[in-house]
């Protein structure tokens, strides 16, 4: 868990997403996203509702055809190929959903639900499958008698364990987890996060962990992607996202996170005003410029490219600068934060607050 893990360039990354575009009619949900996940790595994908993070997860999983771009697993293109052709590869990617209840068939027993992927892929005899189900249940901390019971008999946390056991059945290399702990109470959330971390160590899993909760993502991820209106605005290692965010949106998201420490209440805050514009008509130039307190003329006309920086991070902001010694600097540095007292200024201080 070094800040800059060095991976031998032995082969292609486990997952590679290139220029992925996914539009729903006029809604430009995902608008050109590229990134990679290495074997054993956890990548956190964070952003607010409507930023396209769930759509991106589903598009990677092949749950909906892409509008453009491609997805590669172990170097092989898996997007937009006939299912039969990619089926053996698809086994290597599984998904865990936010609402474990909605994603579990209420009329099937937990044992049947966990066994289903094995059946679909025709793996093992009925007896061998049953043994494997019991082993999976033990692995995720479900009691053996759970196999004959129905989802509604379980708490939210237990149901999420069922969802995880089902995802593990085919021994995947990658799990795409879409807000897996968001519906759970704090005390149970910790149980599920600990379980996912332990399973990763035991099974060498990679995760794409999608969440709106920056603290949870920071805890579990090695690297973090920040998404805004269908685009990635920053990619960085977990600690630098938290300690030295580069993009003003990342900084604002961080400042908006209420710290469970009353003593930190006096820290200066950067307040992002207004709401995210509609993804049917993203603003020209930088998509964040309508809410950015640092914007200049250029930001309103020219879309900033996602550019790699010498320090290993990647950012899409015209105003991030690189000094002669290679260090990157955010426009939010240098005490130029917007005091939260702006919130109490007259109404005219709020730009673009409603549409």
């Amino acid at each position: 868990m070094n800040a800059q893990p060095i991976f031998p360039e032995a082969g292609p990354p486990l997952l590679e997403v290139r220029d992925l575009v996914k539009h729903h009619g006029r809604v430009r949900a995902v608008d050109g996203v590229s990134f990679a996940i290495k074997a054993g790595e956890t990548v956190g994908l964070v952003g607010e509702s409507g930023c396209g993070k769930s759509t991106l997860g589903r598009a990677i999983m092949g749950l909906a055809p892409l509008t453009g771009g491609e997805v590669r697993l172990d170097g092989q293109v898996i997007s937009d190929l006939p299912y039969a052709q990619v089926r053996p590869l698809r086994k290597r990617m599984q998904m865990v959903f936010q609402d474990p209840y909605a994603s579990l068939n209420p009329r099937r027993t937990v044992g049947t639900i966990i066994e289903e992927p094995l059946k679909v892929h025709g793996l093992g005899s009925a007896k061998a499958r049953r043994a494997q189900v019991l082993e999976l249940m033990a692995r995720v901390g479900l009691p053996a008698d759970a196999a004959s019971r129905f989802p509604h008999e379980f708490s939210g946390g237990q149901r999420q364990r069922v969802g995880i056991a089902r995802a593990l059945a085919l021994n995947p290399a990658l799990i795409v987890a879409d807000e897996p702990v968001s519906a759970l109470d704090v005390s149970v959330q910790a149980q599920v996060i600990n379980l996912m971390v332990r399973l990763q160590k035991e099974m060498g899993l990679s995760y794409l962990f999608i969440s709106h909760d920056l603290a949870v993502v920071h805890y579990i991820a090695d690297r973090i992607l920040v998404m805004y209106l269908g685009k990635i605005v920053e990619m960085s290692d977990r600690d630098r996202v938290w300690k030295q965010p580069l993009h003003p949106y990342t900084a604002g998201l961080l400042a908006a996170h209420p710290s469970p420490d009353p003593e930190s209440a006096h820290a200066p805050r950067l307040r992002i005003e207004g709401d995210m514009p509609s993804p049917t008509a993203p603003p020209p130039g930088c998509r964040f410029h309508t809410r950015c307190p640092f914007k200049v003329e250029l930001c309103t006309t020219e879309e900033p490219a996602l550019r790699p920086l010498p320090d290993g991070r990647t950012v899409a902001c015209h105003l991030v600068t690189v000094a002669a010694d290679g260090t990157a600097h955010s426009p939010t540095e240098g005490g130029e934060v917007i005091p939260a007292s702006r919130a109490s200024e007259p109404a005219s201080a709020f730009p673009l607050s409603h549409s």
Binding site: P258, A265, H266, S341
Partner: protein, 339 residues
Amino acid sequence: MAASAPSLVPDATPVLAVEGLTTCLNTRAGKVTVVDGLDLTVRAGETLAIVGESGSGKSMTALSLMRLLPDGVAFNAGGAARLNGRDLLSLSERDMRRLRGADISMIFQEPMTSLNPVMRIGRQLMEVFEEHRPELSAQQRREKATDLLKLVRIPDPARVLDDLPHHLSGGMRQRVMIAMALACEPKLLIADEPTTALDATVQAQILDLLRTLQAELGLAIVLITHNLGVVAQNAHRVLVMYAGRKVEEAPVAELFRTPRHPYTRGLLRALPNPDAGGGREPLMEIPGIVPALSALPKGCAFQPRCPVAIDACAQTRPALRDVGPAKVACILATEGVPA
């Protein structure tokens, strides 16, 4: 002002003083107590946070105080709730109706469910005045509605008056709800998960607004939330509920610095805390789940999940007692934090 922790007004008489509030629910399994003998007070300019997980009774407390319990499903089974001396629980429905929205107001998690989807914002705001301020002319009502939208920092209020709720973003709708709640200058605002449905950046805006309005208007606020970060940044005092009961109450800094009930400690330690460093020690888990209220364990309700429980914890229900500056319902609670 909005950036700093709100300052406490000491020694003011409580706006609301609740004693022994008890609320029951009729279920198939019989009568279940969802709020069990709850005491609380809130002063002008003060925010009392009620924090707890699902099923703790925090929302039922709010509905009980507003007298909005679903008919035939839940009912008040005892206690008193004095708002400036008048007991809300013994008022006639007619008197309560007059008080609701005027002296005591409430905002909810999802503003869309509380706003009429086919009525323009202005009309809905003016309706509040028709109910509570019949002496105002139509012109005055419209002016007051505009002022309210300005109060909650809605840009272009004249235009928003003619909007329908679905024209507005979630954050703007919550601002409208707050405007409606403040229309008749209430003394007490009950906010039940007011920002839970909102995105992080918008949540921060709404919480800033509530703090600013509290400072301007001297509101007493009961803030009901599951989010400990929201509690830390917005409350003066915190009341922790578990299985229908208060298990701990303390000033906010005290509660976060020295949580004395094992459940409070468990909640705080279960949260990932990026500020504590880059490590990835396993998060503290609270084993098991919240017990069903129809089948509470003997003794302390938290005892089966408690890492430090002793035999005595399963014998009698611990009474709430003063431990340092806090009130704690745990026989093991001490002045400092046990190891």
